[in-house]
């Protein structure tokens, strides 16, 4: 099983709150890989909106994303983009 880790500084102006968080979770759920987000000593399931919000990832926070599974690589690329974009949006 592939396991990939990536350290990212959150540049999004809202941090990973609200809409960006929702988007992050929606995208994460599209992949089979297990996704974990770590901030400091805390960690959360990357497919859970509550988990992500509870990490309080403000702008400038440094987080570590881990993806484990066949599509881990693609998952990391997609998730990183959301974090690096200023105002990502996905309308259902």
């Amino acid at each position: 099983m592939k396991k990939i880790k990536k350290k990212i500084v959150v540049k999004n102006k809202q941090g990973l709150h609200a809409r960006p968080a929702a988007l992050f979770v929606q995208i994460a759920n599209k992949f089979d890989a297990n996704i974990t987000v770590r901030k400091g000593s805390l960690s959360a399931n990357g497919k859970s909106i509550m988990g992500i919000l509870m990490l309080e990832i403000g702008p400038g926070s440094e987080i570590l994303i881990e993806a484990e599974g066949e599509d881990a690589e693609r998952a990391i690329i997609a998730l990183e983009r959301i974090i690096l974009e200023e105002e990502p949006q996905l309308i259902k």
Binding site: K13, A18, R19, A44, G51, E56, E85, I91
Partner: protein
């Protein structure tokens, strides 16, 4: 002998969530917490409890989707989008796993576990430093209560069914409670919890219902039959006000209403300066549902009909027929006034899932709008054909977004000609003289507007994008928000240049960005020679009022002076001063 109970005036301070003043009788929402017994269950009950939870989740999901649909139709997509977070929460893995694993371990009825888990989340969120995250408490609370209500089969008081005009007092109002309110019977509302950025506050603002939130204990202090004054401007709430206080507020309310009334009186009047120079005021719309409001506010037509609406919130692409029906309806409803349809403007900050547009690092400069349409002629042609076919029913115009140079414009026009020819072949009628315009929102188009003017019948200046591209300021990045300045001398020169080259070529120019609706800029834009102001329906009366209070000579002089300043600060200061002179009662 009857004893008169003298109620004491009490003033509370909260967070102003939606402006305006409301006075009236209090209507207390039932205390929401239904008591949930802490009842043990046996192992055999477990499957049934889980099934009940699943059922409640499905019901809740259905309910939220319905509310979302209603809001999308009656308000806007941005408001409806709020409920996406609610839906996500409903299927949240962490939340559901926690409820189910505790259910198995502790063996209490599912209601009890659910309430306890929600309570825990609320506690965690209430300790967060970030105001925005703290305000999410009401979203979590909303979803939790909804699930609980379905579990125990209880109905929520429906605020859309109130009989009298009241002020709603509640511990908390969910965004969905708020969305269902009607201005006719909810004068205002006050709540114990909530913040400025809560979704309830956002909803209240767009419904134009005065509201104060975060009052901490208002729902406990107010008794049935109390009289309340809600001041959504400064965040104060007065319980059982004294005679003098009521009088003072009544006077203030009257003054405010008079001003609004005067603006309403403008509805039938043209946008004409004191010396008889006329311009047109049109409205920007997102969906046909907004037309009654557009007409009520006295718009001359639609200057921007955003068609992205069709492509969102769905899995497939809209058919030509579906678009034709909508365009036709709008054309008929607005006739004889013109409706300017902007062809698909996707990308930037508007994405849809069914097209599988790849993520881009720099979407505002990426594959979007006309660039996307030219690459997907199938989608583009279906829209053009729908617009053309509908054009016989009223007066339609069409315009292309994000044109950056003459080649693109010619290419788009070539495709339009192809569609026209196909229709002619099939003997389908359309308006042969339909006006075609280009949105000018890319600096390269602005600079070459004299060249572009030869290929179109009109321009529409899209200031939101034009400003961000001209100043190299991402308009959604808060850190550089201070640099996003419509009054930047560069922006003014660019706009002036666009208007001048259009007029030289003998075509007219409109503006459909936010700037057109800001009254501060009305004299300046008027003086530059802008022919059509396309603004949100609510801004129409104010813009008209300014135009009707000035002469074109005065406006031209204001423009001349503004163009001579070297900083936006001077320009803004000067415009504020002038506006105060022209319309003293306006608040900017």
């Amino acid at each position: 002998m009857g004893e008169e109970i003298i109620k004491e005036e009490k003033i509370l301070k909260g967070i102003p969530a939606s402006p305006g003043i409301a006075m009236g009788q209090a209507f207390l929402m039932e205390m929401e917490e239904p008591t949930v017994p802490r009842r043990q269950i046996s192992d055999e009950d477990l499957p049934n409890e889980i099934a009940r939870l699943e059922d409640a989740l499905i019901q809740t999901r259905k309910e939220i989707l319905e509310i979302q649909k209603k809001i999308a139709e009656e308000m806007s997509y941005e408001h409806a989008e709020i409920f996406n977070a609610h839906l996500l929460l409903l299927e949240d893995k962490m939340f559901l796993e926690e409820v189910i694993s505790r259910l198995r371990k502790e063996k209490f009825i599912v209601e009890y576990i659910l309430v306890d888990v929600i309570k825990k989340y609320i506690k965690v969120f209430s300790k967060m430093d970030d105001e925005y995250l703290r305000d999410r408490i009401s979203d979590i609370d909303d979803v939790g209560k909804r699930i609980l209500r379905h579990l125990i089969g209880q109905q929520r008081q429906d605020l859309s069914k109130l009989k009298e005009k009241v002020i709603v007092v509640a511990y908390n109002l969910s965004p969905s409670d708020t969305a269902l309110m009607h201005k006719e019977n909810v004068l205002g509302f006050v709540t114990d919890i909530g913040g400025r950025t809560s979704h309830t506050a956002i909803m209240a603002k767009s419904l134009e219902i005065p509201a104060v939130v975060g009052l901490e204990k208002v729902s406990r202090l107010v008794k049935k039959g109390d009289y309340l004054i809600v001041n959504g401007n400064d965040g104060s709430v007065i319980i059982n006000p004294r005679e003098e206080t009521i009088k003072k507020y009544q006077e203030e309310l009257l003054k405010f209403e008079e001003f609004i009334h005067r603006l309403e009186g403008l509805k039938e009047l043209p946008a004409e300066t004191l010396d008889g120079y006329r311009v047109k005021i049109a409205a920007n719309i997102e969906s046909p549902q907004e037309i009654p409001s557009v007409i009520a506010h006295g718009a001359f037509g639609i200057g921007l009909y955003r068609t992205e609406y069709f492509y969102m919130n769905r899995k497939d692409l809209p058919s030509e027929e579906e678009q034709f029906e909508a365009y036709r309806r709008v054309a008929i409803q607005m006739a004889p006034h013109p409706v300017t349809i902007r062809t698909l403007d996707l990308g930037g900050d508007k994405f849809i899932s069914q097209l599988d547009i790849p993520y881009e690092i720099n979407p505002f400069m990426g594959w979007r709008a006309i660039r996307f349409c030219l690459a997907r002629p199938d989608i583009f042609k279906a829209q053009l054909s729908a617009i053309l076919r509908a054009s016989v029913e009223g007066k339609l115009r069409l315009m292309y977004p994000l044109i950056s140079g003459i080649e693109e414009l010619k290419q788009a026009n070539r495709i339009l000609e192809e569609v026209k020819e196909e229709l002619r072949q099939k003997n389908i009628r359309f308006d042969e003289d339909i006006e075609v315009g280009a949105m000018i929102e890319v600096p390269s188009a602005a600079v070459t507007s004299d060249i572009l003017a030869k290929e179109v019948d009109f321009f529409s200046i899209g200031t939101n994008d034009l400003i961000q591209y001209a100043l190299a300021v991402d308009r959604v990045n808060e850190k550089i928000a201070y640099l996003y300045e419509p009054a930047h001398p560069a922006v003014l020169r660019i706009i002036k240049n666009i208007i001048d080259s259009a007029h030289e070529a003998g075509i007219w120019v409109g503006m459909c960005g936010e700037m057109a609706g800001e009254v501060l800029f009305t004299p300046l834009l008027l003086g530059m020679g802008l022919d059509e102001f396309s603004v949100s329906a609510v801004n129409i009366p104010e813009v008209k009022q300014v135009i009707r209070s000035i002469t074109i000579t005065q406006a031209k002089e204001i423009t001349r002076q503004c163009l001579s300043f070297s900083t936006s600060e001077e320009i803004l200061e000067f415009l504020r001063l002038k506006l105060k002179e022209i319309v003293p009662e306006i608040i900017v």
